[in-house]
Amino acid sequence: MTEYILCFILFCIGLYAVVIKRHIIKIIIGIGIMEYAVNLLFILIGYKHGAGFPFIEENMKVMAGVSMVDPLPQAIVMISIIINLTVVAIMVALAVRIYEKYGTFDITKIKRLKG
């Protein structure tokens, strides 16, 4: 149970960075921390202490007496990491262009849109 609660705390730390921080790069890092927290939670859900790799023998028979971890969360986390990579890539690209146009990373000074 403790590890799940720690995951939620990590998620909240990331959310804190996104909401409170003013530096664009720190906000992106905050999103990254939230992503790690969710991925970690997913892996922990499928984890089983002392279990082996999720290999299945020929003819789809599970090896007798061997317990395995759940393979689905691992596959999902793999896809999730790819999505997160794209998200972070596009945010960093936008941050670079924003720096070129505004000359600052401070989100409070990047305020041309109002109302």
């Binding site: 998620f11 959310l15 996104v18 664009i24 906000i27 999103i31 939230m34 992503e35 969710v38 939670l41 997913f42 859900i45 689905l72 969360p73 999902i76 896809i79 999730s80 999505i83 794209t86 998200v87 596009i90 945010m91 936008l94 941050a95 262009r97 924003i98 146009k101 505004y102 990047i110 305020k111 041309r112 849109l113 109302g115």
Partner: protein, 496 residues
Amino acid sequence: MIFIFVIIPILTAILLTLFNKLDRRWLGVVTSAALGVNLVAAFILISKLAGNGFQPVVYKLGGWTVPMGILLVADGLTAFMLVLINLISMICAVYSIKYMDKFLDEWKYFVLFLMLTASFNGAVLSGDIFNMFVFIEMGTISAAALIAFDTAPEELESAFRYMIFGSAAALFVMLGIALTYAYTSTLNMADVAVSIVLNKNVALISFITVLFIIGFFTKSAVVPFHFWLPDAHSSAPSPVSAMLSGILVKVLGLYALTRIIFNVLGADVSAVLMAFGVVSMIVGGLLAVYQKDIKRLLAYSTISQVGYILFAFGLNTQLGFFAGLFHMFNHAVAKSLMFLTSGAVMYATDERILDNFGGGLRKKMPLTSITSFIGSMSISGLPPLGGFWSKLLIVIAAVQSGKYGYALIAVVVSIITLSYFIKWHKEIFFGELPEKWSNIKESPLVMLLPMIILALLCAVSGFLLLPGISSNFLEPAAKVLSGGVEYGKTVLELAK
């Protein structure tokens, strides 16, 4: 064969990438043709569904059986959304042929546009929560790239803001998905629905529901989570604004929310949806009155109208769902029309601040002025137009469920809507023409045609209520939502 809705746009996008030296006109024509094929396919799907009494059509990706593989499900609601998505995106693609003249690297625009449409189609077709999440993320990323397409400072700023809000919301959804998987050991929507009915842990389901609500409310810009929408919608190129406002908030936000809350989790959240819907209605409407920018006003109006739809869904009755979906259709058509109109005005005059117009454009752009008048009056709910019928149905549904106060608010906000659209028209189209606009021209035909089609749709969409038409289009969609978790049992039986 329902996967073609996703395959056609993606294949076309790949083709455009390969042949990006093509003449810029042809890029747009190919895009519109591909989306037109999708629209025809959506109508064929509806006729097929009508043939077998709206039993869902199920497709197993890769032939894997239910809990293992990913399922694509097309039921009444999906068919309704598919028609809406492909109709609006085809019209916006036709409009883009001329509008994107001003921009460089048009092929990138059309590739992103096709990916956006593919992600919408995928999100409504998917029968697997994580698969739906992947499509939603794909839509968010392509939308952010489209918003920042011109790389002006404002566009970069709003795209960045949208990315932050969108990905934070997506992570809340992902957390909800993780907990759902931990509880039910499956991510297939039908399977999750069935196993939650069998074994209901109210505390956990409520927590998951809250996570999904935070995520999807942000995606659909319901009031406390709306900060990204006015920036994003007002800075994007106009056809993209039309797509964002017409479809994105409805598919990635409202559709995903209602599908998961009503059909999968079966949670009773009607009080929450109604409260947030009414707050969105009022706040969006009041903020719209004070806007100075032509597109920003429309963006705030979108927040207000999304509030109407959410409120109608929150009533949780058959008529409420029907009215909400009907308003979704009317608002998608009319608001896309308004954004295309504002694009045409900006294309002709290069001006976007309401006070600087001085009115009178009606004399120079008569057709644009007529279509935009029809569109805005449809959103405000003037009698013969589509928006009137859907708002009337929402009010009737509210009165039927005994929510008299909310019904009164809905009527009052409708008057506020009328007031800001009158202001919009007074500043742009009505009155005497100032000197500076003496040599502007009516928009080119390629831009006028989409607007005329949308205006006609606004004018005749009341006919969707006729018994023969509504029983094949809107009623089955509303039935899916009001059927609740029955969805799971039906789909599982078909997927055996």
